[in-house]
């Protein structure tokens, strides 16, 4: 299957600062993919490149097998909700729908109006008077009504209150249930991603630290606690992501496909958020102290 997004050595430079450099990744289709990483990891740049709002300084990016925004057809295949869900504040919601209908050959006005009516929105209302939650819902509706094959959302819920956030994700998940749409969603809110995503990509400083099906990540990562010992003495098939010690206790986060048999360990499942944080910390330490890692 053609990847939803595929990049090779992708880079974007602003002046002499690289917002994204030498980024190589492949995001599978027919998934809800969560993209996480610290601020400055290049997530927004990557997503802006994927929808063709930016063009690469180096390397290549393909979206659904084609160059981003290269043709009108390609643009109609990808729906986008940008950070902070911007709308034209002087235009009414109805104007936005009209604009959508003009710009998109596959526009489904019935679907758009149906959704907005369910949200109890007055279509004559200027977009500038909407609450953050309403604006996000309208932006999502506009992205969905073109029946895209891929929906890209850049931190769509970051500024919403918990209720608006939940409602936004409900609509998004209903859409996934009803339509054959791939989704790539960036967010800092791992608990949200845990609900809605089935695939995770952790990006730190343009590098993919971990990517995979969330169920598989969950089934292969464990927290081990036990009497103090050297993590180097672990079986080969247990990869240590993070280790901490007190004078008598050792706590490890390990990745392994095999069962953990050593009875000295108390083995616990790990929350997705802790897993993400551990990989982010590991990446940061590897960057600040590269020599320590060579052993």
């Amino acid at each position: 299957m053609t990847p939803a997004v595929e990049t090779a050595g992708l880079g974007k430079r602003y002046g002499n600062r690289w917002a994204l450099s030498d980024c190589t990744l492949s995001i599978p289709p027919a998934r809800v993919v969560g993209l996480v990483g610290p601020n400055g990891a290049g997530k927004t740049t990557l997503l802006s490149l994927a929808v063709g709002l930016l063009s690469p300084t180096s390397g290549s990016i393909n979206v659904l097998g084609a160059e981003p925004a290269s043709t009108a057809r390609q643009m109609s295949r990808v729906g986008f909700v940008a950070q902070d869900t911007p709308l034209y504040s002087n235009l009414s919601i109805a104007d936005h729908l009209q604009l959508g209908a003009h710009l998109n050959p596959g526009w489904d006005n019935h679907l758009a109006q149906g959704r907005l009516e369910r949200l109890d929105l007055d279509l004559g209302q200027p977009a500038g008077s909407l609450s953050g939650g309403q604006r996000a819902q309208v932006a999502l509706t506009l992205a969905i009504a073109k029946h895209p094959e891929l929906l890209i959302l850049d931190e769509p819920v970051a500024r919403l209150d918990p209720l608006a956030r939940r409602e936004f994700l409900q609509v998004l998940m209903e859409t996934v249930a009803e339509e054959q749409v791939s989704v790539v969603l960036s967010s800092h809110l791992v608990a949200d991603l845990e609900r809605v995503c089935d695939y995770l990509v952790v990006l730190v400083a343009s590098l993919v630290q971990v990517d995979g099906e969330i169920e598989k990540l969950r089934a292969s990562h464990f927290r081990l606690t036990g009497p103090r010992r050297d993590p180097g003495s672990l079986p080969k098939n247990q990869r240590v992501i993070e280790a901490s010690h007190t004078d008598r206790q050792t706590t490890l986060l390990v990745c392994t496909e095999e069962p953990i048999l050593d009875p000295a360990w108390t083995v616990e499942p790990i929350r997705l958020e802790d897993l993400v944080l551990a990989y982010m910390r590991q990446a940061r330490e590897a960057r600040t102290a590269p020599l320590l890692r060579q052993s």
Binding site: R166, Q170, M173, E174, A191, E194, R195, V196, E215, R271
Partner: protein, 130 residues
Amino acid sequence: MIEFHLDTGSGVSPYLQIVHQVRQALRLGLLSEGDQLPTVKEVVARLAINPNTVLKAYRELEHDELVAGRPGIGTFVTRTLSDAPMAQLGPLRHDLQRWLGKARLAGLDDESIEALFVDTFRASTEEGVA
């Protein structure tokens, strides 16, 4: 009909939480043969979770032959789990109550009792596996 809930802080994967909740409802008699489970769309709309999570949970329940999907209609319970007759549960519960009484007399607080139980339970399951 039952409603699912999701505890994202628990570390238990969402699909397993749904499986557990169905099994629990079957065990407690909240669901019995012929009852319909919420449709995937209903669960998704209520919990804001990935539809594949619900599908995966229902597939596992189907695999365990607890439910069966009828295409275009929904998923229905085919068997209950409350097989153990109450006559058996009664004496076991009685034994456990006596044990709890002894534990409290020995000065254990609730947390210590729970820890002891979980630890013993785990150790005996591990012996069973080995």
